[in-house]
Subunit: 316 residues, 3 copies
């Protein structure tokens, strides 16, 4: 759990660094508000003015189209001004510390920072140093946390299933190194999920103390049996090496979600993936683009959830 208090004295959300420890009621209010900002695929984006006059700095030290643009559009669509800073391209070249860069931007009346850094401690570090009126949102921190991803995953399941409590949810693949797995599990757990399963090769299973209450499965087909949700994770080549998996083909042979394997889950099971996908490695294209896939809904809901979060921290 983050050592940084994320709530203001009045119980409202100030920072979003992790979902761990957030009250269920607060998560539910965020998701209700995301419903307000959500539009069907194909519709024009929702717009508002809650953040008119506010400035959001999006500082990503790792490349990311998906999360960076999602935050950028979310902030602009509710009226904020956005400054995009590619950290590695600018001040770090001059040896300035992240804290000095943040202090500089804060002095320019930046009201919120969205941060992604290879060093997972950066968002917490920044949050302990900003002025009381400034908010810090994690855009994904190392393998530890990606709170808006967790919220959008829970939102997507709720949208399709209407509930979380009695669902069986399988998180499949490189759970060990996945910030998505951690944050999504935290969201599901906060909303009362009873059966969350970790399905992973031995080398990619998290340490024993993590993910309390989750069952652990070492084979894909048995792991997803009769599940309501199959959440696939991205696998990186370096991780295969660590887990003694010979390569992508071998990974797919054992851990790739194919149409045939998906039949082990419930017929109406949702297929999720946080993207970007390695098609033919962790997921077959026929499944990624198939009728059970809600992968595009996840992306769509990501914007709505980020609008709700930005509105919650800045929109008073």
């Amino acid at each position: 759990m983050s050592a940084i208090p994320q709530l203001r004295n009045d119980g409202s959300l100030r920072h979003l660094l992790t979902l761990e420890g957030l009250p269920r009621a607060l998560i539910e209010r965020l998701l209700e508000r995301a419903v307000h900002w959500s539009r069907p695929l194909g519709a024009t984006a929702a717009r508002g003015t809650a953040l008119a006059g506010r400035t959001v700095a999006v500082m990503f030290a790792e490349p990311s189209t998906r999360t960076r643009v999602s935050f950028e559009l979310a902030a602009r669509r509710i009226g904020a001004e956005v400054a995009v800073i590619e950290v590695q391209l600018s001040s770090r070249l001059k040896g300035e510390s992240v804290l000095d860069t943040v202090a500089t931007l804060e002095s320019m009346h930046v009201d919120a920072f969205v941060l992604r850094d290879a060093d997972a401690t950066v968002p917490d570090l920044v949050a302990t140093h900003v002025a009381p009126h400034v908010s810090v949102l994690s855009g994904g921190a190392g393998s530890v946390t990606h709170p808006t991803q967790g919220l959008l995953d829970a939102f997507t399941v709720l949208q399709r299933k209407g509930r979380i409590e009695d669902l069986s949810i399988a998180i499949v693949g490189d759970v060990r190194h996945s910030r998505v797995a951690r944050s999504s599990w935290q969201a599901f757990a906060a909303l009362g999920a009873g059966d969350v399963r970790l399905v992973a090769p031995a080398g990619l299973m998290p340490d024993a103390g993590e993910f309390p209450g989750c069952s652990r499965h070492h084979a894909l087909e048995s792991g997803i049996a009769d599940c309501d949700v199959v959440m696939m994770l991205r696998i990186q080549k370096e991780r295969m090496v660590e887990a003694a998996i010979p390569g992508a083909e071998d990974y797919f042979a054992h851990w790739g979600l194919t149409r045939e394997r998906l039949r082990k889950a419930r017929p109406d099971a949702l297929v999720m993936h946080p993207g970007p996908m390695n098609r033919g490695v962790e997921i077959a294209s026929e499944v990624a683009d198939g009728p059970q896939s809600v992968i595009r809904d996840q992306v769509r809901n990501g914007v709505a959830v980020r609008m709700a979060v930005l509105e919650a921290v800045l929109g008073s």
Copy 2:
């Protein structure tokens, strides 16, 4: 001709991937609308709200100040929100396919994509995969097509000459590898040009089947004789090597447009260049900056034409 239908069932423009096959009336309507958005050099830019609430993604996988900023300003000036994505810097690093990146952005309620890629098939490929309400505009595809450049060239000639039909237009230089030459010729041809001449060294002349109806000339001075329009093309060093031209000096000696050579054309002939110019290679500075040059008008008209195109595809 692109295999992708560019028009909706009601005859309105949905995609702009090529000018080939576009009805003359549609091109004329676009250019009339560009008149509406055009302002004199030195005036403040025109502005509108036709695209308020719409989102345009500008995805360039090749560096380009000119076309990228032109589209960006055009979209913003009629009210759109613009997300700029430098493809090589982000998702491609992670091995995501262009189609998955596009699907992701589409899920974020992007309404139109402006695409440039080293691979000329990318805009067509994307256009075949986007949802029915989404438009794709080519920002220049390989050596094949650059439709908004063709429109702005035709617009510039019309603005100065009042007509296309009875003009003699010379396209000079590396016609073989030029998407500008192809698209501008298509625009001129659609608007009834009777005399379009290709003027190029043998190695840079396009294949025989291309540019039907154009005459071909292997010397600059005879090629531009009595022309109304001299459109110079950018030459790249690699192309000189391919065409067995020893170097830039030699190219300029034979193919550079000097003030003296320009006298072969009509006294009121327009000098055009799509930029960026290699001064002293394909064109002398005295000509580029001289009284017959309409090169800056081309740039200015580029914004107006792109406003007209974006309005046509999105502004309903």
Copy 3:
């Protein structure tokens, strides 16, 4: 002094390339207007519409978060549209000259350019070539000039001390290579400063003819004795080598501003630094973050001053 006239015939500001030669009354009007745009740390940014419909191109050929974002936010907060162009990433790859890039953007109805280039002559060069209605602002030129930094430094001193005339101001460190030192001294001098001291190691002291009227000091403690303002400068490693300083530790030992050394200045002396800081090299963290530091005010005031300058050149 810049050879380029910076004022229009009516005495209003057109370009801002240097503070040298600017009338005191004009500088004072800019700073009064900056008061209008200034907000306390922690407040929401000021906003206006003076530049609605105008376009500002921010072209930085050197990396800079601070100055680039400061200009970008300043321009947007008074209603301008901003196009950010990273020069090294785009047209220079294609060998286009800066002047052709500028002419291209001018043709797209860019009304003002903010320029930073490793080549200090670029802003002046551009200013001599743009159309009469277009303004050029230096965002920092080589070691020569950084006029908005000079204005924000003077503004910060005035805000805290209420006057410049009878203050003792020490500029400390690599004065020789510092555009900040030059521009800030010009601002102080224009506003009547009587005692400006250059405090630097021999190898980093400017040539004899420069900074007329300033006293020169070769030791930190005597140089800042009884000063009202201690302005520290950034030192770069390359410069230490040139000045025969063994390294950062040695520099700090002799030239770093510590709490102890600061006691030589007046008890209410302001500590300034243009950023980015090398903590532990030219300044100790305890001083940078201490009660006498106005470093964050400098950044904050930078936005207000740039709003005032942009409004002055474009907002009629």
